[in-house]
Amino acid sequence: MDLDLTEEQQMVIDMTRGMLAEHSTTAIVRDMEDDPKGYPEALWKQMSELGLNGLLIPEAYGGGGQTLLEGAFVYEELGRAMAPTPHFVSCVMSAGVLLEAGSEDQKQAWLGSEDQKQAWLGRIANGDAILTPAWLEPQRGFGEAGIAISATADGYGFKLNCRKRLVAYASSAARLIVLARTKAGVDLFLVDPRAKGIQMQQLLSQGREAQYQIDFADVKVAAADRIGAPGSGWKTWHKVMLQGVTLLAAQAIGGAARCLEETVVYANQRVQFDKPLGAFQALAHYMADASTRIDGGRVLVHEAAWNHAQGRSIERFGPMAKLFCCETYRETTRVCAQIWGGVAFTIEYDQQMFFRRAKALQLSWWDGPYLEELIAKDVLDK
């Protein structure tokens, strides 16, 4: 049992933090809010050059072949810097889907799978192509039932009809990965966002990243653009999500840790009643509680990621990590705002940026109730 980092792991952390200090300053993060593109080219280029975009992609496909644990270290840094990047949608979720699809039925060697990997994974790893999932639908939830019937057979392919919401960075996407229901069940399709019948509209949302609503009207998709075996889409998606939420938990811890650090600095400087704020127990105890949750949440994330790297199931650990860390991030930003006082409410101070992102992250990519049900299922129904 040890929690020590290897020299290489520490280097990845230092390198990422150093790069983000230059390319994801809060001024840059502010600039990107509500921007239709949503990420700075310089940051994206740096991430590619440092190998962060290919971090989790196997070497055979042009990536770095690192485990989810290294991913968690990087995501804590991305969270600290509130880095505006399509890394999660493209390098984690989209790359993950392409990698997972068909991985369980090697025998069938599903037609197109390897071609799809060859076509996209290298370009994702070097930052040339951004892919993003089009998943959520109006008035529908995070579960399998959230995907309404939307893909009908059309000759040798399919026709898509649906509305997708909160598709991040869609304006820069080379392909969308659309979750749609066919007769076989939920399927995943690679769709060119410039295809006929697609309409995109930017949405303003709490995290202020580039979010889009996409309408598909009789959009034609070739059968070869289905990812994986017919009806295997949801299983693939769920497996990749387990990895994704583990990284988002790390991101939440990074945001919470930085928010608390800045608040501690402020609490040591700001004087009221002739004492620094931090000398008031009422406030010091908020910060002590927050630090305990942050340090505990971080170990949980690392344990989840480590288990995945060991080839063990994270069916329970992944959801537990996101549930706990996102609530920790949210609660940390709430008590920190209390310590900053009135200024936290202003746009001028950075606190509001953490405050909004914390809640948005908690509500995205499996929210509290959905995570709780996944955990309950694993604990009570097996």
Binding site: M1, D2, L3, D4, L5, Q9, L69, L260, V264, A267, N268, K275, P276, G278, A279, F280, Q281, A284, H285, M287, A288, D289, S291, T292, R293, D295, G296, G297, R298, V299, L300, H302, E303, W306, N307, R316, F317, M320, L323, F324, P369, L371, E372, E373, I375, A376, V379, L380, D381
Partner: protein, 393 residues
């Protein structure tokens, strides 16, 4: 990074677990005593500790010259987690606070008198630090120890001495030098518990067990039963707390309560429907299981910090204690909420859910966020020593 025990550690954990299954005895091992299971307070439990001593499991981390094995403290952590998982008495004050302090600061006489007895489980200690005016403010002890010919004369009172009603010896902090700064005026003494002038008064608690207050009236302690140097008492007490991180507050009892609750929820019915299908119950269970995993993470954190052998893992230990004790209470509260009106039925009543375990645990865990350094004291430690905030009291 590695979240598994090493093969040697795992082998020891398995060995202890198998031995405890083999030596299961419902008289010795009773989960319903909750935190008091750690005490060796009955003839049967003392006999059990003798068996543990015969296995060579007491004082494993001590130096070889004092009969120890000089192995890593993590083995004592593994042992205590296993013991508490089975609701057996634990290695505690004798091997830990008292043994380790005597090894570092005790005279040859005290070492020879007490260390072999600790290793053989032939002695039980009570620890007397708290007083009516020295609770969280431990340095405020007022028990008077006046220097007299050949020794000290003790007068005053101790509070919350949990083991005083069955222990053989009393490990006591007293004020020898009232004129010195308060941290430098305290000394440690060893006194036979049956000493004339010592009066133990039971304080029944809301839990299953009793604690005590102890009154001192002209209790004479010979010079040779002063531990270490006069005036160093508070420093030795603090040092022992830092040395003793491995055997404090085990997680197993909380993990055990969570498991017991989950097992019960899986089988229980309400209005003929499975209770586990109730969305509120599912949500509560998910939260408890998650927070229990975080508590385990915080314990991993302090065990790893202690293993590294650097500075004492004070902060890690405070965070663990803060989080875990409040979780412990919440598990009991949530369990009763899930059980509803039947949750109020006490142990021994027909149909009391889980034999009334949580009705009792709800009461027994009330003190966890107070004893052993209250949550507020832990937060002060974290605020000052971890976050670098100013002194706030």
């Amino acid at each position: 990074m590695d979240f598994d025990f090493s093969p040697a550690e795992q082998a020891f954990a398995d060995e202890v677990d198998a031995w405890l299954v083999e030596n299961h005895d419902p008289v010795v091992m009773d989960h319903h005593r909750e935190n008091f299971t750690q005490l060796s307070d009955t003839p049967e439990r003392r006999a059990f500790m003798k068996k543990l001593a015969a296995k060579g499991w007491l004082g494993m981390s001590w130096p070889k010259e004092y009969g120890g094995k000089e192995i890593e403290g993590v083995y004592e952590y593994i042992l205590n987690e296993a013991l508490s998982k089975h609701a057996a008495p634990q290695i505690g004050k004798g091997v830990g606070i008292i043994g380790k302090t005597l090894i570092r600061h005790g005279s040859d006489k005290l070492k020879q008198e007490f260390l072999p007895k600790v290793l053989d489980a032939d002695v039980e200690f009570a620890v007397g630090y708290s007083e009516p005016a020295a609770g969280s403010d431990a340095a405020n002890m007022q028990l008077k120890a006046e220097k007299v010919e050949g020794g000290y004369l003790l007068n005053g009172q101790k509070m919350w001495t949990t083991s005083a009603h069955f222990a053989d010896w009393y490990w006591v902090g007293a004020r020898t030098d009232p004129d010195k700064p308060r941290h430098d005026g305290l000394s440690l003494f060893l006194i036979p518990m049956d000493h004339p002038g010592l009066e133990v008064q039971s304080l029944p608690t809301i839990g299953k067990d009793t604690t005590n207050q102890v009154f001192f009236e002209n209790v004479f302690v010979p010079d040779e039963y002063l531990v270490g140097k006069r005036g160093r008492g508070f420093h030795m007490i603090s040092e022992a707390l830092d040395l003793e991180r491995f055997t404090m507050f085990t997680l197993s009892p909380i993990a055990n309560r969570t498991e017991v609750l989950v097992d019960w929820v899986k089988k229980a019915k309400r209005d003929d429907a499975p209770l586990k299908d109730d969305p509120n119950v599912r949500r509560t269970i998910a939260q408890i299981v998650t927070d229990t995993a975080v508590a385990k993470g915080l314990s991993t954190r302090f065990v790893c910090a202690a293993k590294s052998g650097g500075k004492p893992p004070t902060i890690e230990s405070s965070q663990y204690k803060l989080f875990t004790t409040s979780l412990s209470q919440r598990v009991c509260k949530d369990a009763l909420d899930i059980q509803g009106h039947e949750g109020t039925l006490m142990e021994g009543q027909e149909d009391a859910p889980i034999l009334g375990r949580f009705e009792g645990a709800y009461r027994a865990t009330m003190n966890e966020t107070v004893g052993g350094g209250s949550s507020e004291i832990q937060k002060n430690i974290i605020a000052r020593r971890h976050l670098g905030l100013p002194k706030n009291f």
